[in-house]
Symmetry: C2
Subunit: 357 residues, 2 copies
Amino acid sequence: MGALRRRLTRSGIPGLLVTQLADLRYLSGFTGSSAALTVTRRQARLFTDGRYKIQAAEEVGVAQVEIVSAPPATAAVQWLAAQRGVDFACYDPASTYVADLTRSKAALPSGLRRRFLSPLPAPIVQTLRLQKDADELAAMSEAALLGCKLFDYVLGIIRPGLPEIGLAAELEHKARLLGAEAMSFETIVASGARSALPHGRASRSPLPRRGFLTLDFGIIHKGYCSDMTRTVHLGKPNACERAAYEAVLEAQQAAVAAVSSGASCGDVDEAARGVLRKAGLAEAFSHSTGHGVGLEIHEPPRIGAGQKTHLREGMVITIEPGIYLAGQFGIRIEDMVAVTTNGARTLTPAPRALIEL
Amino acid sequence: MGALRRRLTRSGIPGLLVTQLADLRYLSGFTGSSAALTVTRRQARLFTDGRYKIQAAEEVGVAQVEIVSAPPATAAVQWLAAQRGVDFACYDPASTYVADLTRSKAALPSGLRRRFLSPLPAPIVQTLRLQKDADELAAMSEAALLGCKLFDYVLGIIRPGLPEIGLAAELEHKARLLGAEAMSFETIVASGARSALPHGRASRSPLPRRGFLTLDFGIIHKGYCSDMTRTVHLGKPNACERAAYEAVLEAQQAAVAAVSSGASCGDVDEAARGVLRKAGLAEAFSHSTGHGVGLEIHEPPRIGAGQKTHLREGMVITIEPGIYLAGQFGIRIEDMVAVTTNGARTLTPAPRALIEL
């Protein structure tokens, strides 16, 4: 909250409205599903509804809590407009729906409707969230290690005939038993030709006797997401499959090696893309190399072609090149890494060499 | 798509931009996580990125698919602006972020920026989604019955000392094994004094030897959400606890009995609220009586105090009054019901009388 106030002061912003839930949690600790937070130079106030009365009182220390029956954002905007010295307030246009903005404006005194609410000229809470502090890095490392344990566990139960969805069930059950709060996204289990679907949800298809199997999954621990992918092979891979796997692994390792504070996201992407281009697989690599991760599974920065953002210490990103050959197979290898001044610190130390099962 | 086109024609809207994912799925069958759909009098086109090339081709029959590297909504708006006879297009202000709208406008030819995109005067796809057709009702009934099976299953494993999170793990594992695509929201397992948290996520707390236990959970089946709550009692309830339970059950049954096509949502809410008011528990009932459910876990209408919306045949709503006494206990009973001309058809026939374990 101190860092936020310094930025607000520096930007000459007297009042801020925060409605994005991960931003809210980051600033206030509140984990409920509906609230709005206001921050001025002197005060902070969290508006939520009656369902969260007890929970908000327990979780929120940095702001006063007010239980409202109106939409929280509307109540928050009215409160901001009533504060002395707050002649305008900013909202985040990237997480504010047009209709909510219209409704908040309509709730203001008529003289304020046109000018009181202003879009933030640049993200502010999201920018604070980019660089994780020591506590956040510790939580994310724990989350990532829990993910590695899960991978190790499922290696023991993969067998031809098991439905993809059964494998997902075992993985998610184990995650819960190991203390995960939830999965961070829908578990991807894609086997055989289905591994060519980059986002192949676990289906009823049985695992084949021969073929690739891609597992992409993550858990939530202390609010923070983990994310990792491994592709293993059931049965013996042929020379072509093995070569493709080696190319993806080389691309992944090249991108990890390109990570350091100061490197541009586009350069990290190019490190992976260049390897796959040389292997004749440029077309088959149909997505970005990675993305930021934290309280949300997808956060900035995007590690994509031409992205000019520079990595900074404390950022946590994924490095996950993949190739997808429709009707044949797909391969993706993904690690979560923390950016340090000395390069990447890998948070997901599960084996990457091709595993044959 | 036919019903949508008729409404667009009637409203004089030549082009529609759809970006909300549940709306997209409803109209096109596409289940990916990033896309935009355009609908004009003659054409429909779905824009998505390279990750979904194969999946979109498989899932989408009613629209042409275009793979784009720009943000899908931007590409969609540019396409709309290039169509003959489309002199403006509408977007849904309730699901469009201010920043996305700004970016889409900026991508238009300068002469069109100010006037080409217009907010829908009233929800259109969401309105179509309110009343479920026979296929949707069948899927939702299956989803709800799967939820009942899960409740029956967990009754057999509830025992003092089991952590709430362990119970959630067993429930979610069983859900997967029974074929659920995912849980429809974070499973609520709240025992003892924690049952007074309306949204008490499963914690590490062990189930007590004596006290209420609230289970609120749902699964996704064929894309549709189920939602149900039961509160059981570990050990013998005292007279006060028993009376409170009976009051909530009476309130819940009164609200279910008030459901029929033509009834107002406010009247259904009042049916529950009136019972609890008479029991001296008005203050303890701190939320609405229910909400619509479908492809999303929370959909319109809201069954809340003073809501003037009238129920219509085919709507599926929850009826879930509850009371929360901080530091003591909470009780909530929730069914999912389909609105018919003859009243409510309950989709969740699990027992409601107080179960003592």
